[in-house]
């Protein structure tokens, strides 16, 4: 099982806290919206970044971010 990160684009308003808290996986585009560095839709969260990912999920003001387990 691997952990993946999912962005609900209908909720995201480009506050940008996720990219600050999880810079290893996310950056922001020209308009301040998160961009997955690898280009994947739902990127794999490496084990060492799981805690940071959880932190990013909890701190999104619009609850647009979640992690999930995938086979």
């Amino acid at each position: 099982m691997t952990t993946r990160l999912h962005i609900d684009w209908t909720r995201c308003d480009g506050h940008g806290s996720c990219a600050e808290l999880l810079p290893e996986l996310l950056t922001v585009d020209d308009f301040g919206f998160p961009t997955v560095r690898t280009g994947d839709r739902d990127p794999v969260v490496p084990r060492r970044l799981e805690e940071a990912a959880l932190h990013a999920v909890r701190n999104c003001p619009l609850m647009a971010l979640r992690t999930y387990q995938a086979g």
């Binding site: 684009w9 209908t10 909720r11 995201c12 308003d13 585009d29 020209d30 308009f31 961009t35 839709r41």
Partner: protein, 402 residues
């Protein structure tokens, strides 16, 4: 809107019996009762793929709602929000019973709680409503919405009484859709194909098309043609053969797959309309939209207007789509207007790459595909524009452009 038969093609879907049930049964025979197991085996063996755009294997979609304990909802999608597509409108006018047969045979086999045919605002729901009156338990819903309203999560939202905009696809509609139930959404033409497969079997279905891409499809042909309309042709037909009966004029390129599609230049009209043969052009058969561009129309001006339209049709929910699509359209307009800024194509390509995969639906991806294909296929034309002249409307002279 006319319908045209391609010489040597199989005419399966557009029988022209309209809502007359006696003629429908005379033409096609009675609809068999099939168990879920029998229907799944048939659909899987037929190799049928969705005719609404994405081209996903139908058997996998059916299986996704067949496994659960909750009774599913089956939805026929005739929203047809793509302005260049009219095949579902023609199909519902000519053969509404065939579409309802597909809905019914699936609903029975799946023991569906509801079976709904969703008809878009541009389509006449009359023949389908008339045809549904003779059957029990089939609903025909005449709905609202624009380009993205036929996207399956947008359709589910509208059927649940919400705004007709896509939702986050994290929860699949096959898990929770209409009324919170597992929901199977299939395009109207796909349903008609299911109705034929249920009657005539998988081998019959495979007697047209190729081994990888079997059966027939409806194509809507528009643009620079003498006889625009809906054509039925075998999958894997050559593009030029499908176009022939519509009398194309001075073809420069053909837009395959509609506004979310890609261009095939006039030099390659012998390409076969299959997934693999169209891959080099980044095109797909999609919902069967073919739009012919003639050599008297500037492709960049055409593309900029389409990009404008697509930016305007954004559901305005996802940031990358809200910001990226108007930016792409505006830069494309500048190229079309012969602004001599050499950085423009790279800016458009960069924005196209940026929006890809970053939305709740495929609208940004489809728009990026169309725009990317325009700059790729019309590379020489674009280069001329960046030199300050348009090869369609002007001619370069030693003193400049006349």
């Amino acid at each position: 809107m006319t319908t045209t038969t391609v010489p040597g093609s199989t005419r399966r879907l557009l029988g022209g019996v309209q809502s007359d049930v006696a003629r429908h049964e005379a033409a096609h025979g009675p609809l068999p009762h099939l168990s879920l197991h029998e229907l799944l085996e048939l659909v899987e063996a037929s190799g049928l793929t969705g005719r609404g755009g994405a081209g996903f294997p139908t058997s996998i979609k059916v299986r996704a709602v067949a496994s659960g304990v909750r009774r599913p909802v089956v939805v026929g999608n005739a929203m047809e929000g793509e302005p260049l597509s009219h095949k579902d409108a023609v199909l519902l006018d000519r053969s509404p019973h065939l579409v309802l047969d597909g809905l019914q045979v699936l609903a029975r086999a799946l023991r569906a709680r509801r079976a709904i045919l969703a008809v878009g605002p541009e389509l006449d729901p009359g023949p389908a409503q008339e045809a549904a009156r003779r059957r029990r338990g089939l609903e025909v819903a005449h709905l609202d919405g624009g380009f993205v309203s036929g996207q399956e999560t947008a359709l589910v939202n509208q059927l649940n009484g919400r705004r007709p905009v896509p939702r986050d696809p994290f929860t699949r509609v096959t898990e929770s859709g209409v009324d919170g139930r597992p929901t199977l959404v299939l395009n109207a033409e796909t349903l008609a194909q299911v109705a034929l497969i249920a009657r005539h079997g998988a081998d019959w279905f495979r007697s047209a098309g190729t081994a990888d891409d079997p059966g027939t499809s409806l194509f809507t042909v528009s643009g620079a043609v003498g006889r625009p309309g809906v054509v039925e042709a075998a999958r894997g037909s050559r593009l030029c053969d499908v176009l022939e009966a519509t009398e194309p004029r001075r073809t420069a390129a053909v837009l395959v797959g509609g506004y979310h599609g890609a261009w095939v230049p006039a030099t390659h009209l012998d390409v076969r309309l299959t997934r693999s043969d169209l891959t080099p052009w980044n095109a797909a058969v999609g919902a069967g939209v073919l739009h012919v561009l003639d050599d008297r129309t500037c492709p960049l001006r055409f593309a900029a207007e389409v990009a404008d339209y697509l930016a305007g049709e954004s559901a305005a929910q996802c940031g990358p789509c809200i910001n990226g699509l108007p930016q792409m359209a505006s830069d494309l307009h500048r190229i079309a207007a012969c602004v001599r800024d050499q950085r423009l194509p790279a800016a458009v390509a960069r924005m196209a790459a940026q929006v890809k995969g970053r939305g709740a639906c495929a609208h940004p991806d489809g728009t990026a595909r169309f725009v990317g294909s325009t700059l790729e296929v019309f590379r020489d034309h674009t280069a001329a524009h960046l030199q300050g002249w348009c090869p369609t409307t002007m001619r370069p002279t030693p003193r400049g452009v006349s």
